[in-house]
Symmetry: C2
Subunit: 214 residues, 2 copies
DNA sequence: ACAGGTGTGGACCGGACGGTCCAGCGTCGT
DNA sequence: ACGACGCTGGACCGTCCGGTCCACACCTGT
């Protein structure tokens, strides 16, 4: 029937693998990579040790990489359909609301991708590389939105779209970090508000800001 | 007595304790809390296991807390004398340069306090509480600077100084996070540039930003 | 000289962890 | 029907880690 090339996964197999990934993602978000043991995952998924290594021959590192990919996809999906638009202020506002709701839903004021980056960037080069591309994708999507706004004359065409997108991402990640010890989301809101203001105002470019400060 | 009070530590003792704290701080910054074992610390400081528990009866958790405190002091000290001023744009510019130099010196595009927060906020309530006060201190110092600028008529008096300070901190932390996978500091620079712009422009308050987006 | 407390060394322990191995089961294609 | 291969279970292993314990050296005041 379905061409099951050697080493391929059955329907059941794929389901089990996905179950492992999602359960691991939850635990990792709560307890961190190092705080999540394979035995935890085994217990949470009602699987056995051998299955973990069957689906992820590379061991824990490969499993974590699969989690990173899954979280990245989820994160982007949560921002649709607005992320693909972002051509009006209404679209931006809806995008922001959706993203905030997504993080609120996770309950930890933590970005899955951001947390993984903080945990692995220095120690796991392979995963760090994947995360780098995830960030690039996200930034590019936002920058595309900025460019659409520029084309529509709603944002200063002189602004650097990529840097602007980067600063929005930074506001999100920094805001989330500051929200954690406060156990409240107002730091995230404050950070996003100022990022918002920067989007609206005729942009002061980097060079101008530097000279203005000097 | 309570335990070891009564000015228990001798000069030599305090030196050894400090040596342990600083060595641990370095390792933790590189490899994370979980990635740093007491044996690592022992080896790096040429001490013995018993000394670690002599100076930090609470074990690793207490040692990490001491590291957090030390890093917090270092971080604030690195921002002086500008942090205590911040009454002119020149002072802000010098503050920013000093801070960027400090992070660059650490070589990891990571903020010691930010990293510890990301690692411990969810799992170590006691340390998280200390970190909360560290953030509050930092934010307050920055907000005081904003207020000085407002008093001098250089920043819109209508702006919320605390929220503005928070957004600056968020830009720093988010910028650092995004810089890690890039192994370059331009995301930090981009984030700080826009935060800079927001400081300069007549501030759009949170309410205005929300209504403007709707 | 002696006592008591601080500083230091290092063996040792129990448990947790990532990872291996092998044997049996289920299912699919022929 | 049957063989192949993916799927599953769980015992087992070597290592590492945080933490404990005890012996001893050193300093200091009396």
């Amino acid at each position: 029937m379905t061409e099951r090339t050697k080493g391929a996964l059955t329907e059941k197999g794929r389901a089990t693998r996905q179950r492992i990934v999602e359960a691991t993602a939850l635990r990792v978000l709560d307890d961190g990579v190092d705080g999540t043991s394979l035995d935890d995952v085994r217990a949470a998924t009602l699987t056995s040790k051998s299955q973990l290594f069957h689906y992820f021959p590379g061991g824990k590192a490969e499993l974590v990489r699969a989690v990173a990919q899954w979280e990245g996809e989820q994160l982007l999906a949560a921002q649709e359909p607005y992320l693909s638009d972002l051509s009006t202020w209404e679209s931006w506002a809806a995008w922001r609301r959706g993203l905030e709701a997504y993080y609120l839903d996770l309950g930890r004021w933590a970005c899955p991708i951001g947390s993984l980056t903080a945990q692995l960037a220095a120690t796991d080069a392979k995963t760090a590389d994947f995360l780098r591309t995830a960030w690039t994708t996200w930034r590019t999507r936002l920058a595309d939105g900025v460019r659409r706004m520029q084309a529509a004359g709603r944002i200063d065409p002189g602004a650097d779209a990529d840097r602007l997108a980067t600063s929005v991402l930074a506001a999100i990640q920094g805001g989330l970090l500051l929200s954690q010890p406060e156990r409240a989301s107002w730091p995230l809101a404050a950070a996003l508000d100022t990022a918002w203001a920067t989007l609206h105002t005729p942009t002061t470019t980097a060079a101008e800001a530097a000279s203005a400060g000097a």
